[in-house]
C-alpha cells in the first residue's frame, strides 16, 4: 500500500469539501441553531441546576468546572453525529462516493474532504459556545483562546474512526450500538461532568482510552489556567496518534468498500 500522503491531493480534497459545503448551505440555519442550543441547555440545566447542589470541585465553581468539558464534548458529539448517517448514506443511497470514484478523486480525498467539513462545523459550534460561556464568566485564563484548536483535534480524533465504522456497515441499526456503547458512555464518564478519579480504579483506564478525556483535561487546564493530569505533550500526542490511526482506518474502509 502506497503511503497515505501520495493518495491525497489538495485539489481533490478541496473539491470534496466544496461539495459538502454546497450541501450544507441548504441547512446551515437549523444546524447552527441546534449546535448552539444543546450545549447551552447542558450548561444551564446541569451547570446551574445541578451545580447549585454540588458546590465547588477542586476549588472551582461547578459551572466553570464543566464548561471546558461541555466544550470538548460538543466537538466530540458533533464529530460522531456528522460521521454516521451522512457517510453511510453517501455509500448506500446517494452513492456520492461511487460517483466520485469514477473521477480523479481518491478514497483518501473523500475521507479528508469530509473531515475538513466536520472540522469546519465543529469549529463554528465551539466558537459560538465559547462566546456564550465568556458571558457566564466561566473562562478564567487567556489560555482559553487555544481551546478551539484542542476541540479541532478532538473532532478529528472522533470523526475519523466513526467514518471508518460507517463505511464498514450495511445497515443504520449498527449506529444504535455506537451511540449506546461509545458516544453516551464517553460523554458521561470521561471527566465532562465529574472527575474520572471518582470512577472505580479498574474502569478508569477506559476513560483514558477515550480521546474525549484527553480533550476535556486539556480544555479544563486551558480555561482554568491549571496543569492537566498528564504532561500536555502526552495528551496531545495521544490525540494525534488516535487521529492518525483513525484516518488510516477510514481510508482503508473507504477503499475496501469502493473497490472490487
Amino acid at each position: 500500500m502506497a503511503p497515505l500522503t501520495t493518495q491525497v491531493t489538495a485539489r481533490s480534497t478541496l473539491a470534496v469539501l466544496e461539495r459538502n459545503l454546497t450541501l450544507y448551505r441548504r441547512l446551515w440555519r437549523a444546524s447552527v441553531f441546534s449546535s448552539f442550543v444543546l450545549p447551552v441547555l447542558f450548561l444551564v440545566g446541569i451547570g446551574l441546576g445541578v451545580g447549585s447542589h454540588v458546590g465547588a470541585i477542586a476549588g472551582v465553581d461547578y459551572v466553570s468546572w464543566i464548561v471546558p468539558g461541555v466544550l470538548a464534548s460538543t466537538a466530540f458529539q458533533l464529530a460522531v453525529g456528522e460521521s454516521t448517517y451522512f457517510v453511510l448514506s453517501d455509500f448506500r443511497w446517494v452513492r456520492a462516493y461511487h460517483a466520485m470514484r469514477a473521477t480523479p478523486v481518491q478514497p483518501a480525498d473523500m475521507v479528508c474532504g469530509w473531515l475538513l467539513y466536520v472540522l469546519f462545523r465543529a469549529e463554528i459550534a465551539v466558537v459560538v459556545f465559547l462566546a456564550v460561556t465568556a458571558l457566564f464568566g466561566a473562562l478564567r485564563s487567556p489560555w482559553a483562546l487555544v481551546t478551539p484548536l484542542v476541540c479541532g483535534l478532538v473532532t478529528l480524533a472522533a470523526a475519523a474512526p466513526t467514518m471508518a465504522f460507517s463505511a464498514s456497515i450495511d445497515h443504520d441499526s449498527y449506529f444504535a450500538l455506537l451511540f449506546r456503547f461509545v458516544l453516551i458512555p464517553s460523554t458521561l464518564f470521561t471527566g465532562v461532568f465529574f472527575p474520572v478519579e471518582q470512577l472505580p480504579v479498574v474502569v478508569r483506564p477506559l476513560a483514558y482510552l477515550s480521546p474525549l478525556w484527553h480533550g476535556v483535561e486539556l480544555e479544563r487546564a486551558a480555561t482554568l489556567g491549571t496543569t492537566p493530569p498528564w504532561p500536555v505533550a502526552a495528551h496531545l500526542g495521544y490525540l494525534l496518534v488516535f487521529t492518525g490511526a483513525g484516518v488510516a482506518w477510514a481510508v482503508h474502509a473507504f477503499r475496501k468498500r469502493l473497490q472490487d
Binding site: 481533490s12 461539495r19 456520492a96 460517483a99 470514484r101 473521477t103 478523486v105 473497490q259
Partner: protein, 309 residues
C-alpha cells in the same frame, strides 16, 4: 503515426472469488467509434465496463486505456473518461446545475469554466429550464439525461454508458437515443452496454455479443446479421399445437428452423417463398409474420436463448 486504439484488451479476466464474470476477452475501440456490449443480464458487460472505467482492476490479462495502464495511471485515466453508471448517483439535495458544477470540481475544472460548461450541457440535454430545480422531483429520463451531461463535464475522450436506457419509458428512450446520436455525430467515442437490440442497432458502429463472460461474436450490426442470420425471418404460430410437434413437418423449409416455446422461427433468404412452402405442405399456422432479421435472431442463434430475459 498510426491511430492507436483508445481501449485495448487482451485476455481480460475478472473473477469474484469462485465466480468468473469476465472470462478472457479481447477488445479494441478506435477513436470516434460507437462501440457496444450486447448481452443478457450477467453476461459480464458491466464488469467489463467497470474495468474500462478504472474503478475495478482486472484479475488477469492486459488492459490499456488511452495507452495507459489502469493499475498504475487510474487517476489520470479517470480524469479523461466520462462515466454514466447503471444506477443513478446524482446528489438528490443539490440543484440540477450544482450537480454539474460540483462534479466538474472533482476534475479540477475552475469554477467559472464549470458554470459555463454546465449551462452548455444543460442546453444540450434539454434541461436548461430545470437548472435551479432539485434533482429529486425529476423524472427517470431527466435524471438519466443529467447523468449523461455530468459524464461530459470534463470533455472526456471516451463516454462510457452502462445500460443508458434501462427502465425508461419509450419517449424518454427515444429522446436519449437522439441525444446520444448527436454526440456520436460530433465524433465523441461512445462505449455502451445494453440488452436492447434496437438500441445496439441504432447507436453502435460495432459491437460484441457477450454471453457467460465471453465474446461470442463481433462486428457491425449489419455484418453480424449477415453472418449469423438470414435476411428474413418468418414467425409461425400454430394455435394449440406445440411448436416442437410441428417442427418435423418443416424439414427443409428455409435455411434453419428454431422452435421457441410459443412460436417457430424460420430463417430464410426469402420469407414469402418460405411461407408459400409452409402452406404447400398443408400446414395452417394461426398467424404468420415475415420480418427482417435482427440482432435478437443473431443472439438466439449464438446462444440458444432470447436476449431479454
Amino acid at each position: 503515426m498510426s491511430e492507436q486504439p483508445l481501449i485495448y484488451a487482451r485476455g481480460l479476466v475478472k473473477r469474484f472469488g469462485e465466480f468468473t464474470a469476465v472470462d478472457g476477452i479481447d477488445l479494441e475501440v478506435a477513436p470516434g467509434e460507437a462501440f457496444g456490449f450486447l448481452g443478457p443480464n450477467g453476461a459480464g458487460k458491466s464488469s467489463t465496463m467497470r474495468m474500462i472505467s478504472c474503478v475495478s482492476l482486472p484479475t488477469a490479462g492486459e488492459l490499456r486505456i488511452l495507452g495507459m495502464d489502469p493499475s498504475r495511471d487510474g487517476t489520470t485515466i479517470r480524469g479523461r473518461l466520462g462515466v454514466c453508471p447503471q444506477l443513478d448517483n446524482l446528489d438528490p439535495d443539490l440543484s440540477v446545475r450544482e450537480n454539474l458544477t460540483t462534479y466538474a470540481r472533482y476534475f479540477g475544472i475552475p469554477r467559472a469554466v464549470a458554470r459555463r460548461r454546465a449551462e452548455e450541457l444543460l442546453d444540450f440535454v434539454q434541461l436548461a429550464d430545470r437548472a435551479g430545480s432539485k434533482v429529486e422531483p425529476l423524472s427517470g429520463g431527466m435524471k438519466r439525461r443529467l447523468t449523461i451531461a455530468r459524464a461530459m463535464v470534463n470533455d472526456p475522450d471516451i463516454v462510457l454508458l452502462d445500460e443508458p436506457t434501462t427502465g425508461l419509458d419509450p419517449q424518454a428512450r427515444h429522446l436519449l437515443w437522439e441525444r446520444l446520436f448527436q454526440l456520436k455525430r460530433r465524433g465523441t467515442t461512445l462505449v455502451l452496454t445494453t440488452h436492447y437490440m434496437d438500441e445496439a442497432e441504432q447507436l453502435c458502429d460495432r459491437l460484441v455479443v457477450m454471453d457467460g463472460g465471453r465474446i461470442v461474436a463481433q462486428g457491425s450490426p449489419r455484418s453480424l446479421i449477415e453472418t449469423y442470420s438470414t435476411p428474413e425471418v418468418v414467425e409461425l404460430r400454430f394455435g394449440d399445437e406445440r411448436p416442437a410437434d410441428v417442427l418435423g413437418k418443416l424439414d427443409g423449409v428455409g435455411e434453419r428452423v428454431d422452435p421457441l416455446p410459443d412460436r417457430l422461427l424460420v430463417y430464410a433468404a426469402d420469407g414469402d417463398a418460405a411461407t408459400a412452402e409452409v402452406h404447400r405442405r398443408g400446414l395452417t399456422p394461426s398467424s404468420v409474420l415475415v420480418r427482417r432479421s435482427t440482432l435478437e435472431d443473431v443472439f438466439l442463434h449464438l446462444t440458444g436463448r432470447t436476449l431479454v430475459d
